[in-house]
């Protein structure tokens, strides 16, 4: 960090022009900025949610480095620890629970909406770049050489004096979020939970499979879950295999795995 900030402390005094960046910071910017922009664009166009999430983490990481270079080490660390570390990883966990395979439908429900959105976005970007690029930035004194070590103290001072009220009101936001999650996700039981005895009686009354299901695999040859077990008459048992695997077409019959000689001999036995 010392090399990155090498050019900065002295600049606080140089008020004639807007503070220029030190060489190290220039290099840092031109290396990380393209990565951040490309990652942000990639996040938008990535088809899989996991890729989007990881690219967003990359964008956040680049921003964190910029924050640190701008003499805001606390903000930078918080960005990495809280956002990149905790929030994004939680997000990835959620994606894992939902299913990594699921990707969004990319069918346009409104015709030409994507093109219109692209044009509007490009126009907005041009407007912002033109406007902010031509803005007359006043001379800012910078944070001064002491700021890096006082960073946390300064933030704490602001948070617990000037912005106490906003800070306290934020708790309402957190309670709302917790309450909302409960409302949208928690299902209270409307009926008492059935006991094991009731479940057992129900199973016998309905007259389905009473014993445990037969195990998959053919003894001494294949015990994978994708090979159905054979019944005494040699036919594969539907019950021994998972329905999901069957639906995906991953089931292999015991016969096709057999060596030709043995297969022939079993045919003869039949």
């Amino acid at each position: 960090m010392r090399t990155i900030l090498a050019g900065l402390p002295g600049l606080a005094a140089a008020t004639a022009t807007a503070p220029a960046m030190g060489t190290g910071e220039v290099w840092l910017f031109w290396i990380l900025a393209p990565i951040a922009v490309l990652a942000a664009l990639g996040m938008l166009v990535a088809k899989k949610a996991v890729h989007s999430a990881l690219l967003l983490a990359l964008v956040m990481f680049c921003l964190a480095v910029f924050y640190i270079a701008e003499q805001a080490p606390f903000l930078g660390i918080v960005q990495i620890v809280v956002y990149t570390g905790a929030v994004m990883m939680l997000f990835l966990f959620v994606l894992m629970l939902v299913g990594v395979d699921s990707s969004d439908s990319l069918v346009e429900t409104l015709r030409g909406q994507r093109l219109a959105g692209l044009l509007a976005g490009a126009g907005f970007a041009a407007l912002l770049m033109g406007g902010i690029g031509s803005a007359a930035l006043g001379t800012r004194a910078g944070l001064g050489p002491q700021s890096a070590s006082r960073n946390v103290v300064d933030i704490a001072t602001l948070l617990f004096t000037r912005y106490t009220w906003a800070f306290e009101i934020t708790s309402a936001l957190l309670i709302t979020a917790a309450l909302g999650t409960m409302v949208l996700a928690h299902r209270e039981r409307t009926a008492p939970r059935p006991t094991q005895r009731e479940l057992s009686e129900q199973r016998f009354r309905s007259g389905g499979q009473l014993t445990p299901l037969p195990a998959p695999g053919v003894f001494a040859r294949h015990n994978g879950v994708h090979v159905p077990g054979l019944l005494p008459d040699g036919t594969p048992s539907e019950l021994s295999i998972n329905k999901v695997l069957a639906a995906r077409g991953d089931i292999r019959s015991g016969q096709e795995l057999d060596t030709p000689g043995i297969a022939a001999s079993t045919e003869e036995e039949k």
Binding site: L127, L128, G131, I132, S134, A135, A136, L137, G138, R140, Q146, S149, R150, V152, V153, A156, T157, F160, T161, R162, Y163, T164, W165, A166, I169, T170, A172, L173, I175, T176, A177, L179, G180, M182, V183, L184, A185, H186, R187, E188, T190, A191
Partner: protein
């Protein structure tokens, strides 16, 4: 000793000073909300409804009393985060009154055979057996009340914030519960959930615009407090790109919340999908809060560059009025029609904002009060007209309502006449106040357009009245269900205030005028 520890040790932080009596309205409502959450956690299910309703109503009324006790206050409190002044108190009072009426309509249980207008169990998938079981068990989602209270606390802070950061937090506090509540309708749940998702996504989008604008204004002025920005504006000679873009983006965030065109697209869908009592509350109270914040930002912080933002606001106001009134003509659903009517009203209100004067401020505040009473009443009437599938909101189902239920149709007619701005209703007084303020503020062409649009808008209000009274009833089982005292009180208060503000508006106009000075 390392430099870090030494600097920590030498730093002395003065304990913040919060004037608790001055922010009491917010604290009471927040306290009621937190108490409601505790009730959800610990009280038996059969007790919850009564407890929640009691806590909400007592909290709101106590907050209303504390607002009344603060009357005449004119200072900035809570370490410079909250302005307690005339406009704040007037709008907080309005919001609290609307919240009381809103909670009354939300608590109504005698219209739907299942219970309130909210889903028995929001977590159950629409159409599933779990949903049927939940409805059959007669349970209800009483979290609605604490969520409403959280929304109200955000609304109370939104027009009172004196810096943009607090304003942003308030915006989120008021929005988040509304996003949730919008998705919790008992009937037509998919429509409701779609509305909630739309509201959430677009609301989050507009919040980022607001935040970006705040960042740019900070870049321009080096301050996020409204007075700090005002100082920077008055010190500068010409308009700066950062200031202009920042102003535009902050305005986008606020205009979205109040449903002004071209940021109105969420309004009809959300108003239609959300549970009707919530729609009424949202239409009335959110508008007050959003206009309060917009007025404070534009008048206090950006009053110095009004020649820069006024042309843009002209365009937005004209577009909002025209889109609201013209598209409303084609609507066949009562709730959607009222939604477009609310967009048109946002346009009329903006003409008062453009006046940039004390009269403009007071007329907008009066308009918001008048419009809120009529809106809550109108949406409460919509909850009464039902058939076996729930509320009958299609206009064709309202045909001949005046013959079967003259009283309900008559009250709805009163609200529609108020929306149209017919004399002797609150709508006329408020429109007159806003237009005369705009006229004095040098916006005569805007007033002409406003009057023309009012004539167009009157057409579709009158069309509904004609439909109710002069066409044959359709026999599809649509009838007016008798409500309990809760909704009856809400409708009665709404109708009574619509008449009072139209016939004897003097005291309220005077109050609004007295209150119309921002603390700086």
């Amino acid at each position: 000793m390392s430099p870090l520890t030494s600097s920590v040790l030498t730093a002395t932080i003065q304990a913040p000073k919060i004037e608790y009596s001055q922010v009491a309205p917010m604290l009471i409502v927040l306290g009621a909300a937190v108490l409601g959450v505790l009730v959800e956690a610990f009280a038996a299910r059969r007790l919850r409804y009564g407890l929640q309703l009691g806590i909400a109503l007592v909290g709101l009324l106590a907050a209303l009393v504390s607002v009344a006790l603060l009357a005449g206050a004119h200072h900035i409190v809570a370490m410079g985060a909250v302005a307690v002044d005339g406009p704040t108190l007037f709008m907080q009072g309005s919001i609290l009154v609307f919240a009381v009426l809103g909670v009354l309509t939300m608590a109504e249980r005698s219209l739907d055979p299942g219970g309130t207008a909210f889903a028995a169990q929001a977590a159950s998938v629409p159409g599933s057996t779990a949903e049927r079981d939940a409805v059959g068990a007669g349970i209800m989602q009483t979290e609605v009340f604490p969520l409403t209270m959280f929304a109200v606390s955000g609304m109370l802070l939104f027009p009172a914030s004196t810096d943009l950061l607090t304003m942003f937090v308030a915006l989120e506090v008021l929005s988040l519960p509304l996003y949730l509540l919008a998705g919790m309708a008992r009937r037509r749940r998919l429509l409701s959930q779609e509305a909630a998702l739309k509201y959430f996504l677009l609301g989050a989008f507009s919040s980022t615009f607001f935040l970006y604008g705040v960042a740019l204004l900070y870049g321009y002025s080096g301050s996020i407090s409204l007075t700090g920005i005002a100082d920077a504006v008055s010190g500068a000679t010409g308009g700066d790109a950062l200031l202009l873009i920042g102003t535009a983006l902050v305005s986008v965030g606020l205009l979205f919340k109040l449903g002004a065109a071209p940021f109105h697209s969420w309004t009809p869908d959300v108003y239609q999908g959300a549970p009707t009592p919530l729609t009424g509350f949202m239409a009335a109270a959110t508008k007050v809060a959003a206009f309060g914040a917009l007025l404070r930002v534009l008048y206090v912080a950006l009053g110095g560059v009004r020649w820069d933002w006024r042309p843009m606001m002209w365009a937005v106001a004209i577009l909002t009025m025209v889109v609201g009134a013209v598209v409303a003509i084609t609507q066949t659903d009562v709730k959607r029609m009222l939604a477009y009517s609310s967009i048109a009203h946002a346009g009329f209100l903006l003409t008062g904002v453009i006046a940039t004067s004390r009269a403009g401020l007071s007329s907008v505040m009066f308009y918001l009060l008048a419009y809120g009473f009529s809106t809550i009443g109108a949406f409460a009437v919509v909850t009464l007209v039902r058939n076996s599938g729930g509320e009958a909101t299609h206009l064709s189902q309202w045909a001949g309502l005046g013959r079967r239920s003259p009283l309900v149709a008559g009250i709805f007619t009163l609200f529609l006449l108020a929306f149209a701005g017919i004399p002797l209703t609150s709508g006329f007084t408020s429109k007159f106040a806003v237009f005369s303020a705009a006229m004095a503020g040098g916006a005569a062409p805007l007033v002409v357009i406003g009057v023309l649009v009012s004539a167009v808008a009157a057409f579709f209000y009158v069309r509904v009245i004609v439909l109710m009274f002069f066409s044959e009833p359709v026999g599809d089982g649509t009838s007016v269900v008798l409500p309990s005292a809760l909704t009856t009180i809400a409708i009665t208060v709404g109708a009574a205030m619509t008449v009072v503000l139209g016939v004897l508006p003097g005291w309220f106009l005077h109050l609004a005028d007295q209150a119309a000075v921002f603390v700086r």
